[in-house]
């Protein structure tokens, strides 16, 4: 009987399970990359550069954590990049209209939630696939961001707004702390909260979850709002860091975030995955970007490498789930 088999083998079996379920393969790739980089480039391991890497990944990290929650629940949001652009330019315009920076931030977060709400309502109340729905809202909101700015960037957002992006707490950049707080929140949400449990359930089997009496629609909307909120937060962090709002600034982030989540082991169908996987994915993308930068490679190489890693990671995950 199955209950008796794994006594002798259990250590090896457990290791194998851990290897497969914790995405250790990707962790090894990350470690190997760090080792190679530290040999090839002497500055890579310097505190300054490491701090730099962490700051660079914070925006993507915050965005990817929201995406992790959403994708575990079986959803997907292609519009987060456009959401970042809209939030940033609206906040930028408010500051230029001499409204307080704090208000601009709060409004930015609310806009993020609202765009999430739109996506959530569409995903919950129509039978269309969210991939296509959010492809639509992505295009729509990218148009909105260009329309309201007439395509011009907004620069020099002022000291108060820049504080988030430049402040340090005990020598650690504030946005890095913010990223880790966001990760912790998502970790607790997914691991210890009812909402997280329902995210896994809906991603695992939406209909079963509905039959169990869970108000599935309400939760689906909530997950899109969560994702939108973190997209709004990512927008505030990003525009504060570079002290400007560009109507196309979010465009690259959508696929990077989805890539990080997928590298981290969340399948497109949902139901599996965790924040540690996504953290690995985000770090991997961050180290590649930073490393290639240090070695003076062209940005195009970064795209090519990132693409390769996403493909390899997805193939690995797919093979794991086949067995």
């Amino acid at each position: 009987m199955p209950s008796e088999t794994p006594t002798k083998r259990s250590a090896a079996w457990r290791f194998k399970r851990a290897f497969e379920s914790q995405q250790l393969g990707i962790v090894f790739v990350l470690i190997a990359l760090v080792i190679i980089m530290s040999i090839v480039s002497p500055v890579f391991l310097s505190p300054r550069n490491l701090s730099n890497v962490l700051q660079q990944i914070s925006t993507l990290g915050i965005l990817s954590m929201g995406m992790t929650v959403l994708m575990i629940s079986g959803g997907i949001d292609l519009s987060v990049g456009s959401c970042i652009s809209v939030v940033a330019v609206v906040a930028g315009m408010m500051i230029k209209a001499h409204l307080p920076a704090e208000l601009a931030m709060v409004v930015g977060l609310l806009i993020g939630c609202s765009i999430g709400l739109v996506n959530g309502l569409l995903a919950a109340y129509t039978r269309a696939h969210p991939f296509i729905l959010t492809l639509g809202t992505m295009t729509f909101f990218s148009g909105v961001a260009v329309y309201i700015t007439k395509g011009f960037p907004i620069t020099d957002l002022g000291k108060r707004f820049e504080w988030i992006g430049s402040a340090k707490v005990w020598g650690i950049p504030f946005i890095v702390i913010l990223f880790f707080v966001v990760m912790l929140v998502c970790y607790v949400l997914l691991r210890y909260m009812r909402t997280g449990r329902i995210a896994y359930a809906i991603g695992g089997n939406e209909y079963t979850t509905y039959l169990a009496g869970v108000p599935v629609r309400r939760y689906k909307i909530l997950f899109y709002v969560i994702c939108g909120f973190f997209a709004g937060l990512a927008a505030v962090v990003l525009s504060s860091r570079i002290s400007s709002a560009i109507p196309t600034m979010g465009a690259d982030y959508t696929l990077q975030a989805i890539g990080a989540v997928v590298i981290g082991g969340v399948p497109l169908t949902g139901g599996r995955g965790n924040v540690w996987g996504t953290l690995t994915g985000v770090l991997l993308l961050g180290v590649i970007a930073n490393g290639l930068n240090l070695l003076h490679f062209d940005a195009s190489i970064q795209y090519m490498l990132t693409g390769l890693i996403i493909v390899v990671a997805v193939i690995l995950h797919e093979q794991r789930s086949r067995r």
Binding site: G204, Y207, L211, G213, G271
Partner: protein
């Protein structure tokens, strides 16, 4: 004809291990042309492994396979097909958006001069094959529009077209009604008439007695019994499969008493059924019989709040319920256990614990937070009470056997103190042992004063487990029978009959 009847297939001492665990121990099996050989056994007995070795999906570790006396070395799906071995799996293998004709002639489509498909000849040929089998099917029809039974018939036609000499059928009647099963048996008889050998795998023993010539029982990967079907009784088969005596639960004799629990008055769901009235008392089980499409499953789904009510009343414990949504109906004490276990009854990627608590998260949460300690306690109790075989409560449900999955699916409703259980095919695809355990669970629910409304296509289950049998035919309740005083024939005549 040669002087003696030669076996078309001889399997000798075939064994197979998966990651060090031997799942087939030196199994023998002979197959004579024109005969039906039933292979039975509980889930995990090795039936599917054996089929997969024969159809070339798995490689055997040892033993020999000979076809018409010639030994076969390596088998791949392709080689198996060229040897005339065709497997008809539970999940259909037709291409849904192609026509019947294209599916039958797939891989051998007649082409015209320019290499284009010669449609006329294709449909003519397919039509001939269908006609030879007495099948009333249009070769131009798209497969996705066919019923499961018709799709199966197409697969058999396809097998014949490919000159199959050995046809393997895995649970072919799992989604068929009684009438469709009869048609399938006619087709199998035609296969026999053409000297095709059939390996027939089924959990339904009465079918095996109806169609098979000989039977092989597998248990834990070994052959424990092989004999002509005439030399064995149903009880002996069950004993061989399970390895011990099984007492069959019978509810039918038990006296139903208790106060009125659920009253259904003139319930109607437009387009599915109309004017259905039932009175379910505490400790009572009513079996809903009828052909597929008779509306019996719709009744359950409407009572559960999944399908909308068009008219009539649902009264639970004196309170009217119609118009309430699914969530509220569960809160009032009615739950629905669907037939499609893996598609709508379980979250396969989730742990046993997660599945047992998903319907009652209030019991395992404190405010917005999960109480993981409580959850562990609840899940462990479920596993213990229902004897669910799992490595741990954190094992994903997809790694459990069918019977254990079925129990996990039931378990999420048992802890909640609900009153009415709507069970749709509660033991579909479940082996004899687990089936008995599920029947015991149902009996326990009745003893606790719950009520059960059950839809089942399994006549044994219907007759043994119901106290009353409500027969539906084309959306109407045509008979309400006392299980003690009725017969299978009477139930079937109401279910299939045209007159009311």
């Amino acid at each position: 004809m040669s002087s003696e009847i030669q076996n078309i297939l001889e399997i000798r001492a075939v064994s197979k291990s998966f990651s060090g665990v031997e799942v087939l121990h030196s199994v023998d099996l002979d197959l004579a042309p024109g005969k039906v050989h039933a292979v039975v056994g509980e889930n995990g007995a090795g039936k599917s492994t054996l089929i997969k070795i024969l159809s070339g999906v798995h490689r055997r570790d040892g033993g020999t396979i000979a076809i018409e006396g010639r030994p076969v070395e390596a088998l791949s799906p392709h080689i198996a097909q060229s040897l005339g071995i065709v497997t008809i799996y539970q999940e259909r293998n037709l291409i849904p958006y192609l026509s019947v004709g294209e599916n039958i002639l797939l891989g051998d489509v007649p082409t015209g001069r320019l290499g284009t498909v010669h449609w006329k000849r294709l449909f003519e040929r397919a039509g001939e094959i269908l006609k030879n089998l007495n099948l009333d099917l249009n070769p131009r029809e798209t497969v996705v529009n066919l019923s499961p039974a018709e799709q199966q018939a197409v697969e058999i036609a396809k097998a014949l077209y490919k000159q199959a000499r050995i046809v393997i059928m895995d649970e072919p009647t799992a989604s068929l009604t009684a009438a469709e099963t009869k048609n399938l048996f006619d087709l199998i008889c035609q296969l026999k008439g053409r000297n095709v050998a059939v390996i027939y795998i089924s959990h339904r023993l009465d079918e095996i007695f109806a169609i098979a010539d000989e039977v092989t029982v597998l248990r834990d990967g070994s052959r424990v019994l092989h004999c002509p079907i005439g030399e064995v009784t149903k009880e002996q088969l069950v004993k061989a499969m399970v390895g011990e005596e099984v007492t069959i639960t019978r509810i039918a004799e038990a006296a139903a008493a208790g106060e009125l629990l659920l009253e259904v008055q003139g319930l109607t769901r437009a387009g599915a059924f109309e004017d259905v009235s039932l009175r379910l008392q505490r400790g009572m089980i009513i079996g809903l019989a009828g052909a597929l499409g008779s509306g019996r499953a719709n009744v359950l789904r409407t009572l559960a709040g999944i399908e909308p009510v068009s008219g009539g009343k649902i009264i639970l414990n004196g309170t009217e319920l119609q118009g309430k949504g699914l969530t509220e109906i569960i809160e009032r004490g009615i739950c629905f256990v669907p037939a499609e276990r893996d598609q709508s009854g379980l979250i396969l990627s989730m742990s046993v614990a997660g599945n047992t608590t998903i319907a009652d998260l209030d019991a395992v949460t404190r405010g917005p937070f999960m109480d993981l300690g409580r959850e562990r306690a609840v899940a462990q109790k479920c596993v213990r009470d229902l004897d669910i075989q799992a490595k741990s409560i954190y094992q994903e449900v997809q790694y459990l056997s069918g019977g254990n999955r079925q129990k996990v699916m039931l378990s999420k409703w048992l802890a909640r103190g609900l009153e009415v259980f709507l069970l749709d095919e509660p033991t579909q695809g479940v082996d004899v042992g687990a089936r008995e355990e599920i029947h015991q669970i149902m009996k326990r629910l009745l003893d606790e004063g719950k009520g059960i409304l059950m839809v089942t296509s399994d006549l044994d289950e219907l007759m043994n487990m119901s106290q009353f049998i409500a027969v539906m035919n084309r959306g109407r309740l045509v008979a309400y029978l006392d299980a003690k005083q009725t017969t299978r024939e009477e139930v079937l005549s109401y279910a299939i009959g045209n007159s009311n």
